[in-house]
Amino acid sequence: MKKLIKPIQSSFRDPSGFLFYGNGLLYRQINKIYREHYDHLMISGLYSRLIKERLLIPHIELDNGPSEQIEIYKIIQPEFISFISYPYEWCFSQLKDAALTTLKIQKIALESGMSLKDASAFNIQFKDGKPLLIDTLSFEKYKEGQPWVAYRQFCQHFLAPLALMSLTDFRMNQLFRVYIDGFPLDLASMLLPKNSWLKFSLFCHIHLHARGQKHFSDKQTNLQRHRVSKLSLLGIIDNLEKTIKKLNWSPKGTEWGDYYEKTNYSPEAQEHKKLILNDYLERIKPNTVWDIGANTGLFSRLASDKKLFTISFDADPAAVEKNYLDCVNKKENYILPLILDLTNPSPAIGWANQERMSLLERGPADMIFALALVHHLAISNNLPFDNIAPYFSKLCKYLVIEFVPKNDSKVLKLLSTREDIFKDYTQEAFEKSFRVFFSIEAANKLKDSDRVLYLMKGL
């Protein structure tokens, strides 16, 4: 295995160990300096409890045999995560659930004499519809009087983004793309509304915290003198939990019930579309489906209800929020709603642009649904078909794409406020561009509509 080791580029900060690929599988090396903490995690019963409560990624220990590398203590193999997602792709409630999961883990860890040494939102992933911690090496033995070393990180990765999304603007999570180690608290303090100063918890954890960071940034202080009793620590965690539970978001001026219910399909056309999509899914039997422009996930559920792992992408955070809340309420395990604007997909970011993967690096999907999407790309975003087809060919093996003709009411609406410069927006031109990268396996015109569904296979 040693010769085939390929360390993961995001796994370099913690000297306790690192993730690597070996023979195509994912492993985690645990170094000897972490031995005491790892053994305590396993022996104290903390690991078993967290696994039982589905809060931590399960792993198996491998018999790595004698090794020439003296720093290796153990090699473990964590359970596979189907798709790594990032906080800038999560809606409000996904980040809130991730935050509450982190605090719950910290509370349980303290009961077992351990504490989280980091509280990064990137350490939480969604598996079977639930957030869980994927970094097994995040725990350290707790010493009485020791402050929570991850407190700053928790405020920057969870509390500040959630407060901003709830009280300022729900699109604020996009700041994660720029600030990979969480939101700077001085920026959060500045962007939050003035009445947030009157909320005691936000005043303490964000506004006062930000000023504290600034005040002590160029001063020396004896940290040994500062101790936090276990009772105080539990008090802080309890307060953070209550504060986060009180933060909420819902679209203004509308009810969730009628949000996104309007479509321009007749019921017959919608049923016909479902029949065709079901037929394509039965024919191809993909393992993974990405529904791009999924809205609240109506068609994504055709795949996820068949127990196919489905990612339900949409550019609108409100649609993703509604989709996620539906998943939680119905306890759906095979669907993951995420925010994605395909005209500006998640890039590779972090050190050497290798810490967080681009969308493309996390593919290809077995099948992509691009339903009622092409007119947004071609007309709203001026993308020629010749540019759309090659990107889809990199993202998936099979493409299910809906062609929306120019006489469609949605296209006419897009063209109503601008000059029609899209002479090449025709079904013939569309097919010609896509045939360069795909073979057309099927084409079905929808009932009561001029729209056409295509099943294409990558060449």
């Binding site: 402050p147 700053r152 009157l198 504290g212 960071q213 002590f216 940034s217 009772l231 539990l234």
Partner: protein
């Protein structure tokens, strides 16, 4: 929105304690977060303790006023 009297009291305590200056050893960018955590911890620990012993405290106060 009005700040309640408890919040106001806490703010005053925090600001008073916060600006007591100690400067001895090496510092890092997390120093401010550490100190704030210590201060918030004192408050939160105090609140939890009061909550825990609230029944006893209330009965003592009641007894004091009865006598």
């Amino acid at each position: 929105m009005k700040m309640d009297s408890f919040s106001l009291l806490m703010v005053v305590i925090l600001v008073c304690v916060f600006f007591v200056k100690n400067s001895y050893a090496y510092l890092d960018p997390g120093t401010g977060s550490y100190v704030i955590q210590v201060l918030i911890g004192i408050l939160m620990g105090g609140i939890i303790t009061i909550k825990f012993y609230w029944k006893s405290i209330r009965s003592v106060i009641k007894k004091l006023f009865k006598t």
